[in-house]
Subunit: 346 residues, 4 copies
């Protein structure tokens, strides 16, 4: 097991920033090179990301795929959807390990990508080759091309997996009421993310149109091919970090509360980053800053409805943290290496 | 139509404070007396409620039912559940008009009250006599004893009414994911409402156990007797005022998007305080400070699920505002008299 | 005393929106016409300002000075600095009453304007003619051209006036640590006002460079010609509405706490919108939604420093509210007509 | 240099929680024992502090000074003022190393303590022996009894030190306008820290009466004995973590901007946790989660006033972080061992 040199493309977005912080704590990473496809000359990191005010060590280098491959052992893309698939092609061609945080390689069918993203898809062969890195459920060992799941998809799929895999629920009844902090909406100022608009407010957006819907359905179908569609809403919260996905699904007539409890217990028994707390509902705060996904579940006898509350930090478990978890699996490293478990108190 | 003198019992809670502000703008109210059952001597209002820093006109008087009846034409109770039913009995005995903002008179069956409130119920006869004042749908004309609906119940019932009354949906599929600001949790400091705990957080609470559930079910059953139970979750938001109830319900096979749109249009066509905005999702911010309930509705062809987003200001439409609306109906006043329509900008 | 028709130019900014709401409650205003210099055709108000979702009465008309003068009795400009002075010239030429909320007419010297605003100034004659409408201290009776003070200037000047007018303090020791909510920064999305940047943060900005500094100094000099400069800092708060100006100034050796208390008492004894609360420190919350300026004052024996805490709602007392107060003074109306006094609870 | 076993008394408060997290990352700490003086039996940590939901390793043990000394090499007290001095006496008697985060050992004179804390003081001999651990300026090497500075005191003193030590300013002109998030006010619910009261608000509190004033003055006097008093205000912010101390002080006639810049550069040239950014004003956000104190300084030629903006995370640099920094100095460890430098993004 060798130590590794890592390139990170796309440091200026929130996902890239957080990923960079975590990689610095990884025991097997000896060097981190930062690249930006908007830089034309090497630029001090603290100039690109003012919050890294004291970081005088690193520079952001102009994007150069040959140089990345010459200097490094793997590359993380924290670039936008539509950009990554253009940048990543030479790496795939040279069999160079890629972990992509954008949505460009998550969907297996180009037509599905184009329908939901309104952009040209990557090549079918590349899409088929990519591994959908839902870390607890799809092992990335020996994979080279990781499509890191979306933040909403991660919270939703970890909440639904035990129920769908074990066929305990009516697959036509899945409803996800997902809420996210504003860091999920990115760094570019907009009317919707203006402080004055977000503060003291809730905003529903992209109802039934969010890009994470097709990757959720695609993964659910791998667990139960009879899944056809889900009801999925997203609400913008007046907080910075964190997602709560509140999931509702009808139990099948034979499903009992005990069965539900048991399947959550067993599915995640050996997973260090999923904490199932039974009927104790998790809060967003208890995972912010960490790679945990916390799950609480309540079975309502009166309505035969199972409610799952799934919380994650969208920038860690929902982005860079899961990316490192996949990186660890790919390389046979300790699954927790580099991953934060200290919650932001209080 | 005569001008009226009003007594308000319970000014120290948020509901009472806001009600008091609105009553001052009512064209038919010539006098407001404030009473508190915790006061033993008349106390300046600005001492009881520091935010009324400049109000040197009013005093809060020790509670005295005889005095209230002698001086006034009607009484509003903004007291807590369990307290009102003890205070209100003499008024009912004397046929004196009462508008109660607590939950004490909302449920028709004492056993149901006791199950959900864990307190002794009011007398059956009084419960039966009380009018459930969901203002747009139950006209309060000629009523004398108004049980003003709960805040969550108001948002939920106005969102569900058109669908249930017209039998467009599967009544066993009702799911309400309701979110509220902290003013709904009252003025008493608590660990759950401590700033440090609420800020940057979401907290699910009282899942399937909220006191507003039985009044919602009771009202739904009046519209469709086959309703038996609803799935109902409540989440505490890091905002002060406002509720968003996101409601999910399965359409019956014959229901179309056009039918759904039509029934919302017609149900609220002549209601000044319900604004139906079609597929445009309302935000909490657009109703804060007003008596409006804004409704947006999206029918999802893929899942046959109708999503209704219902927003209100919990302290106006969800409390004192609807109380005044009922007061206006009782007395034949203009329905909008005293009710705010200016949203808090921006 | 005649009823009046009013034109409002600039409804799309926060100041204009709030002004419009208040004008609708003014007993002497019979008609409000809205104009926008960006509109080319009449546009429904609810389209220009989505928060006015239910306002189907008003349209925003393309700007036309002749039409405004033909249809109305006075015009309010809620346009940006640099824009108003271009728009207002024909009104001044025709002796048509103008109330300007921008900074274009506040400074008496064109050179001062150009130094601080980095824009061409209005004509010297127009600047000299304008009345600086600090309503409690400069009576607007018989004035026709009102330069409405800036929000920070209003909070600061009302806090300093008693001390400077009565020469109780060292004029070289004035320090203002002013804090404002984001509505003061306007509606245009920016990196500094992005929710993610504002939330959980404080940002100092424009230290010693804020445009409101010269109008404060100019007014202070009218009260005491020996004032030469002030120390003035501005901090952006994670709240929407409200300003707290914390003012520090050294007492002269002969000044006592009693004298300080007395001069605040007397200066504002008959002012309905300034509430002096002695050593009780005001909070921002107690004025949000109102036209009040609340003042608390503490004299520190150990340091001979007087601290004044001055709070206002920047969009009411700091903008549209004071503009209406000036309008009332100009026309001999009741000073409180149209002005809100109900605080946003809780 | 030996590895150490550590006892931490007082895990249930915010300061103790954060200290515990950091100690777990310290390379020289091999064991952490948690004690609570309210526990009567060993209690799982996740029960005492629900946010440590996944920590099944540690228990909180009933307080027992003999056991602490038998098992450990040093003790941290994160208990309240008034409590620590009662608990710490046996440790001092046995020459056992103590680091106290409360205010009980900060002031050298019992009378001063009793005036500001309204509680009985520790013994004079113990007060005299304690080392005031302002880490950058008072080296803790070979010290055994550390009085860890208050959060406001840390931000203020680091901002003032260069100016006072080098006699560049008028010592009678010091004004500190300090603002803090609510975590500084502790975990106990209160009316002042209720979400509804804090949100959308600023609250001045304890003006000229804050307990950190005497420790600031005491330290300033060690640098310049002519200091007699400071003007010091505290404002509660609607944020959880972080302090901004805005400091104003008059320059002496001979002081120039260059001299000011130079003295800040040199004072902190070799300090890893103080970052001086010249005229670039620091934000609270850029230090949250870290042990940094960031300083920006602007000299105003017009008023001869120097403004220093000093930001810290009140729970790290203002509490547990500085405590570990002192612990590192005491024991000759790397000054940065265990201390976080990753800012909470974004």
């Amino acid at each position: 097991m060798m130590k590794m040199k890592i390139a990170l493309v796309g440091i200026s977005g929130y996902g890239g920033m957080v990923l960079y912080q975590m990689l610095q704590h990884h025991s097997q990473v000896t060097q981190i090179e930062l690249y930006g496809h908007q830089q034309t000359v090497p630029t001090p990191l603290s100039q690109v990301v003012p919050l890294f005010v004291g970081d005088h060590t690193h520079q952001v280098l102009p994007y150069d795929s040959s140089k990345i491959m010459a200097h490094n052992d793997a590359v993380f893309f924290a670039t936008s959807a539509g950009v990554t698939s253009q940048l990543a092609a030479p790496f795939i061609a040279h069999h160079f390990p890629v972990i992509d945080l954008s949505g460009d390689y998550r969907l297996k069918q180009p037509a599905t990508y184009e329908k939901w993203y309104h952009k040209p898809a990557a090549k079918l062969a590349d899409l088929q080759m990519a591994h959908y890195g839902l870390a607890e459920l799809n092992d990335a060992r020996h994979q080279s091309y990781i499509a890191n799941p979306g933040c909403y998809a991660t919270a939703t799929l970890l909440g639904l997996a035990p129920l769908i895999q074990d066929h305990l629920v009516d697959v036509d009844s899945i409803i996800v009421d997902a809420k996210s902090g504003t860091s999920g909406a990115g760094k570019t100022p907009s009317a919707m993310a203006h402080f004055t608009q977000v503060n003291d407010n809730l905003q529903l957006y992209k109802v039934n149109e969010h890009k994470h819907i097709p990757e959720i359905v695609q993964q659910l179908q791998q667990w139960d091919s009879t899944v056809s569609a889900i009801q999925f809403s997203t609400t913008l919260l007046p907080i910075t970090r964190g997602i709560l996905a509140t999931i509702y699904v009808k139990a099948t007539p034979t499903t009992t509360a005990t069965m539900v409890d048991h399947v959550f217990q067993t599915t995640y028994a050996n997973q260090p980053f999923v904490r199932y707390t039974g009927q104790q509902m998790p809060t967003i705060k208890q995972v912010v800053g960490t790679n945990y996904c916390d799950l609480g579940v309540i079975y309502n006898e009166a309505t035969h409805t199972i409610m799952v509350a799934s919380v994650i930090d969208n920038l860690v478990k929902g982005a860079g943290g899961q990316a490192i978890q996949n990186f660890n699996q790919m390389n046979g490293f300790d699954e927790a290496d580099g991953l934060p478990t200290d919650v932001l108190l209080p």
